[in-house]
Point group: C2
Chain length 281, copies 2
């Protein structure tokens, strides 16, 4: 596996690939790779000739008081895992490479507000603007034909798909299903913040979502399903940001007759904020 | 010359060029082409194997009450001129192609405020956000190796150079000197709004800028030069938005010892708003 830390070294490699006609896939990550990330790399390999995985903890998508400082950074292990998974190039930029200008000197991207201001956007103001600002840079720098994102961050997936479609990026967004631990907990770098007690509570998040999906299928109304799910999570010790049943396509409130809904939740377990989501299909 | 109106037809053509290893230049225009635009196409031809000229009157860069509606649209003549100049591809998107989503459903780019909020930005709030929003789309859609812009819109040139550098676009911004009519008036599609009387006043704009450059060279202070230039323009019948002596590199107020300054002006002549600028070098 090759490694590039600068724009020039990245461009030297991908230009040559492009000249050879290779299809290039990009897997953007913040590092601290787990089986969920490696599933993205596998999907990338299956859909392209060359795979670039970026490792960059993006400051612009963290809010004040969020966990940017303590977000786990494990570069050497990450590189070994990527190499073992058959990734061709690890792109590991520093901040000056990703953000050569600061503050008022910098260009920013604003995500589509209709998608980005609800749910996560309500609880993490500015988060998705930071996400699209860094993802647009990665699209520009790498020029991928395919970009791979996990369904675990379902709203992010929709926000990025909109970025690509609306801004005219000539690439395909490839979504990959959430990878879960044996108890159903969605894989996340933030799971390691959980103490033993928090972890046993955390396991209930997916169970509550599965129950919500079953109740919707049996005809229980959306608002009652949401309300009961919040109550169950609270009695399991969560502080709940939201449980929401939305149209899978655009996160709008369902009007009835949708072929696919998505149940999304965010809740705090101790100091750890967890998110998860399930499809009704 | 080929013509593409949709994303798919554009991509079909440029992908094939890229596969053949061609260097691609992009000349973004709003149509109504004059000798200034054709100088951009010439510069593009000299620096690339294939030239794409886009023709699109971009609504997001016009403010309320500006001339979007009456901006001159002369597509058939434009296409003939581009063909004669050796342009390879005219990209003529409609609004749904450039902006498939509207309002709160759309992604926007925010130009670097330090560059975009002064001068033109003060008098046309939001203008440069509209410019970078459309230019980023064109960069994404076309994927040029070189993008050509005129020095006539000097602040725009700096704003777009920053877009490219900060957002990681793998391309070179190629600036082209302003083309002028025999009296010195900078070529502009808006010149045709001028009546005969306005036109003879308009001719003085460049003269006042030339005088300002000479006075700076002879040691007259910046603020006095600006003030006197405003007075001369006003007595010639202009309503002046600004005359400003700035650092050529970033439009900051000069601190002394700069190797290059730029004198920039915007003024209204009748109903027509004209801009121009000159270097002190």
């Amino acid at each position: 596996m090759q490694r590039a830390d600068s724009r020039d070294s990245l461009w030297g490699i991908v230009r040559e690939w492009r000249r050879q006609g290779h299809i290039i896939a990009l897997v953007p990550t913040m590092g601290n790779l787990h089986a969920g990330h490696l599933a993205l790399v596998k999907a990338a390999r299956a859909s392209a000739d060359r795979v670039v995985t970026s490792i960059y903890v993006n400051p612009t998508q963290f809010g004040q008081g969020e966990d940017f400082g303590r977000y786990p950074r494990t570069l050497e292990q990450d590189l070994r895992k990527l190499d073992a998974e058959g990734c061709d190039l690890a792109f590991v930029p520093d901040e000056a490479t990703m953000y050569p200008f600061e503050g008022d000197e910098a260009v920013r991207v604003r995500a589509a507000p209709a998608l980005a201001s609800v749910l996560e956007g309500e609880h993490r103001p500015g988060h998705f603007d930071g996400v699209v600002t860094v993802v647009a840079r990665l699209f520009n720098l790498v020029g991928p034909d395919v970009a791979v994102f996990g369904e675990k961050d379902y709203q992010q997936l929709l926000v990025i798909r909109r970025l690509a479609e609306d801004m005219g990026y000539p690439l395909r967004i490839l979504p990959v299903p959430t990878v879960r631990e044996s108890g159903g907990l969605a894989m996340s770098s933030r799971n390691q913040y959980l103490g033993d007690e928090d972890r046993s509570a955390a396991l209930q998040l997916n169970g509550v979502l599965r129950e919500a999906v079953e109740r919707l299928a049996s005809g229980v109304g959306r608002e009652r399903v949401e309300r009961d799910a919040v109550a169950r999570l609270e009695s399991a010790g969560f502080k709940v940001d939201y449980v929401a049943v939305r149209r899978a396509e655009n996160l709008a409130i369902p009007g009835g007759g949708e072929s696919e809904l998505r149940v999304l939740a965010a809740a705090r377990c101790g100091n750890t904020r967890l998110i998860d989501n399930l499809s009704t299909k």
